[in-house]
């Protein structure tokens, strides 16, 4: 036990510097928390296959028969192109490869078979987007980095043979770094720059209930609460010509950003021995993100507190997938193949599309497989693809054009149970 925890801690430390990348979920949501789910259109909250149930539905975790550790990473290769509608010029991002990850540890309680406890460490929100130098929207944004890591200690109890409930406290630690150019020019013609950075923490919870109707049908419901990430000791730094230094004082700032609630209804159905079909419906409470405000400790006539309207709306996402055991029904020799797709509505309303989250309604496709190397050990891989196109004229910056995003995300996971 102790040894394993040490490994976990080491992994967390190693991963603390992860970069996330937009374009794999609505808003700045990242829906990559389990390789098996990712193979099936990111659905499967009601099909308990591994310790990722801690995240997807704490109520279902109690249905796992073994103790288990699970680690996975999903590098995201995202490319955004913006075509300005007035100049016809196109601009691209050169964002770093995103690396959302998840670590799960789920343990049996020896004398209480119905009780499980565990810890999940996930990155369900985040975004790093870096636009090419001198792009047309440079005065709106040049780079945004939003990182969030959620720690969720969880208890799951199977209250009857058919019903499991569970819950966990979610502690989120995050960091934000936002940069843009200022339309103020030095003698050499170069532009000023502003960089806002800060760390944030927030608290929330994750609860769920799992109902096993019969051997063929499972239904589950879960709710991950909203987390208000508060930036209490942020910092703003200006690079401006010397004669304007007093107009743009460096200093502290406060801000905040909400991570929205996610309510999920999941159904899994077993039409035949080798087959599973899963459906998840998410309701994401993006309405919480109505304004992005920065309150500067030092103001000047040129530097006033800003309130930038985001006006996000609550959205639905529908995710459908299936898996098939293609080799053998024996535990050690199974091999699962998966495929799925999903449709997500964008929380970003017309007039509010920003370079931070060039988001649109999206269709995505996924596939995946699990290879069972032994009765204790299995290896997951998954693959995700989406292309999103969104045209808009932002009401605040009046930047007008079309964002096209292509994102590919191959995922890899290891699962050890005993």
């Amino acid at each position: 036990m102790k040894g394993r925890n040490l490994i976990l801690v080491a992994l967390i430390f190693f991963c603390n510097d992860v970069e996330l990348n937009q374009s794999y979920g609505q808003g700045f949501q990242v829906n990559f928390q389990g390789q098996k789910q990712q193979g099936m259109g990111c659905a499967g909250s009601s099909l308990v296959q591994d310790a990722s149930a801690l995240f997807y539905n704490p109520g279902g975790a109690s249905f796992l028969n073994a103790s288990e550790v699970n680690a996975a990473v999903t590098p995201i290769f995202g490319n955004v192109m913006f075509v300005d509608s007035f100049t016809n010029k196109s601009f691209r991002t050169n964002s770093p490869v995103g690396t959302p990850f998840n670590l799960y540890a789920l343990f049996k309680v020896k004398k209480h078979h119905r009780l499980k406890y565990g810890l999940s460490i996930t990155t369900p929100f985040g975004s790093t987007v870096q636009y090419e130098d001198n792009w047309i929207g440079r005065f709106a944004l040049t780079r945004l980095e939003l990182k969030a890591i959620q720690f969720q200690p969880t208890i799951s109890l199977r209250i009857t043979d058919n019903i499991g409930i569970g819950g966990g406290l979610v502690f989120t630690t995050g960091a934000v770094n936002l940069q843009k150019d200022l339309p103020i020019q030095f003698y050499d013609g170069s532009f000023g720059h502003a960089e806002i950075s800060g760390k944030a923490i927030g608290w929330g919870y994750n609860v769920g209930i799992h109902f096993k109707a019969n051997e063929k049908l499972n239904v589950s419901s879960s709710y991950r609460s909203r987390t208000n990430m508060k930036v209490t000791s942020g910092n703003v730094q200006f690079t401006v010509p010397e004669s304007l230094n007093q107009s743009f004082p460096d200093g502290n700032l406060t801000s905040g950003i909400p991570l929205p609630s996610v309510a999920t209804l999941g159904i899994s159905f077993k039409p035949a021995k080798r087959w599973d079909i899963v459906l998840d419906v998410n309701r994401v409470g993006w309405k919480a993100y109505d304004t992005l405000s920065f309150d500067y400790a030092l103001n000047s006539p040129s530097l006033l507190d800003t309130k930038s309207v985001r006006n996000y709306k609550n959205i639905f996402a529908f995710r459908l997938g299936a898996q098939c055991n293609v080799l053998s029904l024996q535990e050690e020799k199974k091999m699962m193949l998966r495929a799925g797709l999903g449709y997500g509505f964008s929380p970003v309303q017309a007039g509010y599309v920003t370079p931070e989250t060039p988001d649109g309604n999206r269709v995505y496709f996924t596939s995946g497989m699990t290879v069972f190397l032994s009765s204790h050990f299995n290896l997951d891989i998954s693959f995700y693809f989406t292309k999103v196109t969104r045209s808009d004229r932002n009401l605040e910056t009046l930047l007008s054009g079309t964002f096209t995003t292509i994102a590919l995300a191959p995922g890899f996971g290891l699962n050890y149970s005993w």
């Binding site: 075509v83 001198n134 005065f139 709106a140 003698y187 050499d188 013609g189 605040e396 292509i406 191959p410």
Partner: protein, 454 residues
């Protein structure tokens, strides 16, 4: 085997990174217009006059130059200008260099940002040497100070005449081929010499108004609305457009904005006279007998107005304008505008503003009517200037007509800076696209310099 897999994985990663959205194939076309022999005709705006001088950098970012650059996407001829010296010192008719923003210490010993000359003297030699090259046609006849009525003038190319315009003189063919006795060629003759343009852009008329307004309505009378070519606005534009539209040639012509809204006239507030208790006492003693009272804080400046009572002095009224030519140190330290009223040449009164505005309106009516007659497109500049006066957001940047900080006007408060020229160019492009069904793309104005700060 292991090496083999490593290669496969590396290839896969490369493939993943290479999957990018494809750029749309968009090509500009000229619609029903033919840009192959384009010429820009105008005053300092078209030439690239800014920061109170003409310089190479200004020419490169001139209205005419930027417009032609976009027209070249749909077949326009190469840009040929009488380029000035790469030293970028700049030159105006008072032999001065261009303005830059620098530090200046005022009469009270306070150092602050202020327009200052880039160097003690302008690139004088540039205006005295001919830039004319035989068999090479300029594509930009932007000439600082050029009026609508000057197009057929035989005097502005004559170095011995009082009306001589050295910016024109250096590019006129006469500088190379000596004219017959007494017949110096006009701007129009230069434009049409060696082949008529197939497409022209015209932004003329501001200089028919500005010299009067800039003198505080004391001299340089405005061009009369009607009169013969070289005298009146209507016949001058008439003959110009009938020449440029012959052989079914096309073009656009711009209407004129309200020049009294330029920062040159609006930067100093009419009530910018800040008084303390002691000054209030002094001024009330002086002006009390005339019935004028002062108070602590903001007061209206005192101005000369021959029509104002026995002493010809009165406080300014809201809406009246103080010109940027006013000596600010005299206001700050020598009681100009208070004990000593502002001279007429530094002020536009309500009546004078009205005169300029109604003349502008009359010119614009003529411009629209004549353009329609010959099938030219009309570039309405007023909406752009009004939007700028109100302030607007453009691709995330706030822009306005405010002096220095607004980011659109150059440091002379009259001419636009490169960014302003790019914005105005977009108005020309929009008008061309609408009139001639072309699809020329706009410029990203933020790629062009604004005021540079030390």
């Amino acid at each position: 085997m292991k090496l083999f897999y490593c290669h496969i994985i590396a290839l896969l990663l490369l493939a993943l990174m290479a999957c990018k959205p494809k750029e749309p194939m968009l090509s500009a076309h000229s619609g029903t217009a033919d840009f192959s022999k384009f010429v820009a005709i105008g005053d300092g705006h078209t030439a690239g006059y800014m920061d109170d001088a003409l310089s190479l950098h200004g020419q490169q970012n001139a209205l005419g130059t930027l417009l032609q650059m976009q027209l070249q996407l749909a077949g326009a001829n190469p840009t040929i200008l009488p380029w000035l010296d790469p030293s970028n010192v700049g030159i105006n008719t008072q032999q001065q260099a261009r303005l830059i923003l620098g530090y200046k210490t005022d009469c009270m010993g306070i150092q602050g940002l202020s327009p200052i000359r880039f160097s003690a003297q302008g690139e004088v030699v540039s205006l005295t040497q001919s830039a004319y090259i035989p068999n090479q046609k300029y594509s930009n006849y932007g000439i600082p100070g050029l009026k609508m009525i000057d197009m057929v003038s035989n005097l502005i190319g004559n170095p011995n005449d009082q009306k001589y315009n050295p910016y024109f003189g250096r590019m006129s063919m006469d500088q190379f081929v000596l004219p017959m006795a007494g017949t110096w060629s006009s701007v129009q003759e230069n434009v049409l010499f060696g082949g008529y343009p197939t497409f022209s852009s015209i932004y003329l008329g501001l200089e028919d108004l500005l010299p009067y307004a800039k003198s505080g309505a004391t001299q340089n009378p405005m061009t009369p609305v009607s009169g013969l070519p070289n005298v009146g606005f209507d016949e001058s534009i008439n003959q110009l457009l009938s020449q440029l539209s012959s052989n079914n040639a096309k073009g656009v012509i711009a209407t004129l904005p309200d020049v009294t809204k330029f920062p040159y006239f609006t930067t100093i507030p009419y009530n910018g006279l800040k008084l303390d208790a002691a000054s209030v006492v002094t001024l009330n003693q002086i002006y009390g007998p005339l019935g004028f009272a002062f108070h602590i804080g903001d007061n209206a400046f005192m101005i000369e107005d021959p029509g104002a009572g026995m002493f010809g002095v009165r406080p300014m009224l809201p809406g009246e304008l103080i010109l940027l030519s006013v000596p600010l140190d005299s206001i700050k330290c020598h009681q100009m505008g208070s004990v000593f009223p502002l001279r007429d040449e530094f002020v536009l009164t309500l009546d004078e503003i009205q005169q300029v505005q109604s003349r502008t309106t009359a010119f614009n009516q003529i411009i629209r009517a004549k353009a329609n007659e010959v099938g030219f497109g009309v570039v309405e500049t007023s909406p752009f200037y009004e939007k700028t006066n109100a302030g607007f957001v453009y691709n995330g940047a706030s822009l306005s007509a405010k002096f220095v900080s607004g980011g659109v006007f150059s440091l002379d408060g009259i001419h636009l800076n490169p960014r302003g020229n790019a914005l105005l160019t977009n108005e020309f492009l929009k008008a061309i696209n609408v009139k001639f069904k072309s699809n020329l793309p706009m410029l990203n104005a933020l790629n062009y310099n604004s005021v540079l700060f030390p």
